[in-house]
Symmetry: C2
Subunit: 254 residues, 2 copies
């Protein structure tokens, strides 16, 4: 049995709460939220407070707030010598006030409001200041996920950068594909099967092995024709040129 307290009631907090509520091994003792009335309305089974002084000691406090609020929230936190973790990929462990035992509980996933995710498949990256605390985080992570990884702050920073490429930037390329479809009266859904296969291909092949296309096979005629096509949109054209160049320079290094 792990007793925990959630600090914050945004997107990540709500997804975590939902996952923990499915588990009999975890008790959510309290939820701290400035707008606790909103929370109360959504889930009256939770014990909300908006008063820092109401908080009682538990096994673990999870600060699930926006990255730039973590340091400030941890300064407001009134208790001492508790295990306090944040859930961010890009914030160092040191941003948490050193009045407490610090740690990180980072679920590596993109969370959409209102769309439940299968936590069992989400990697949880954990890190603690003191090795004894690692066992608590490991236990909690394993309750909701099959994939727990001990990742130090330097690795987590790298992982967050990598995640920006494979999530944020990939999604932006989907958006460009969508824009091109709209401009040419083509349903974007035509591309869905290709998008899925592209994502699933790299489960069995490395991305280098999976690479295909005009840049990879150095098909200059097609590249020129595509750049002509993109002439009216400088940004799309610059992205096409740079990624083509990157794929091609890659080939040379191999």
């Amino acid at each position: 049995m792990v007793k925990i307290t959630i600090i914050g009631y945004g997107n990540v907090a709500q997804h975590l709460i939902h996952a923990f509520q499915q588990q009999s091994d975890v008790v959510i003792e309290q939820v701290y939220s400035r707008n606790y009335e909103d929370g109360n309305r959504i889930d009256s089974s939770l014990n909300f407070t908006s008063n820092w002084d109401d908080l009682v000691p538990t096994d673990l406090f999870i600060i699930a707030v926006s990255d730039d609020a973590i340091a400030e929230v941890s300064l407001h936190f009134p208790l001492k010598n508790q295990l306090v973790v944040h859930t961010s990929g890009s914030v160092s462990l040191e941003q948490i006030s050193n009045h407490n035992r610090r740690g990180v509980f980072y679920p590596l996933q993109t969370f959409t409001k209102g769309k439940n995710v299968d936590f069992s498949q989400i990697p949880i990256c954990i890190e603690t200041e003191f090795s004894a605390d690692l066992e608590i985080l490991k236990k909690l992570a394993q309750v909701i996920s099959e994939k727990t990884h001990i990742i130090n702050s330097q690795q987590r920073r790298a992982l967050h950068v990598a995640a920006v490429y494979v999530n944020n930037f990939v999604n932006h390329l989907y958006q460009i594909g969508n824009e091109i479809c709209i401009e040419n009266q083509i349903p974007f859904s035509i591309l869905q099967s290709l998008i899925k296969e592209t994502a699933s291909k790299i489960e069995t092949l490395s991305p280098v092995e999976a690479q295909t296309g005009p840049a990879k096979r150095n098909d200059q005629q097609t590249i020129e024709s595509h750049l002509d096509f993109l002439e009216p949109n400088k940004m799309q054209r610059n992205i096409y040129k740079l990624l083509t160049e990157s794929i091609q320079s890659n080939g040379k290094e191999l």
Copy 2:
């Protein structure tokens, strides 16, 4: 019953043959290949030839060769007034010799050697010079796929450019993510769940709605920290900067 002839025995040709062989409504009359002995060794149930003069008329000839060989192959093709199509996203219908009735049969997917794909979910984009021929292509496409689209040459060109973004370029971003993982002793598999969710999110949300991350929320502190991190790799850093800029300029237009 549709009688067809396949010209070429590369990656796309073999995937098409495999799909047609499952269907009793389609007969593959002949397969033309310069290296027909290789083909014979792989599939002795097919009727291979490497002699143009052996070809007999059928309902449809599918030229499934590399983009830059289509025009030349269609000039070698000895019969007249047959329905001859190619399978390319980027080659115009006019590249086929005008001694025949021309068309396009373009399966929008990335094919991996040795990995069977579910053709029923692959969009087939068809186009013909003469409307009567459209029925033959429609019939054939519907035998193997649930998704048939009539796409003209201009749309197909746009679709091919869009496919380069959502397939080739997306895969290259996976590769960068992989490289960052390797450099920091992180298993790339940690990112698989995120990659899958990113691809599946846009089945219910538009890419603009699905966009998250430091660029989208204008988190300059995280962006600067990531650019610092990427300092040793100029190409990765340039890609990060350009895609961040593109996401941010987007926000302004909305």
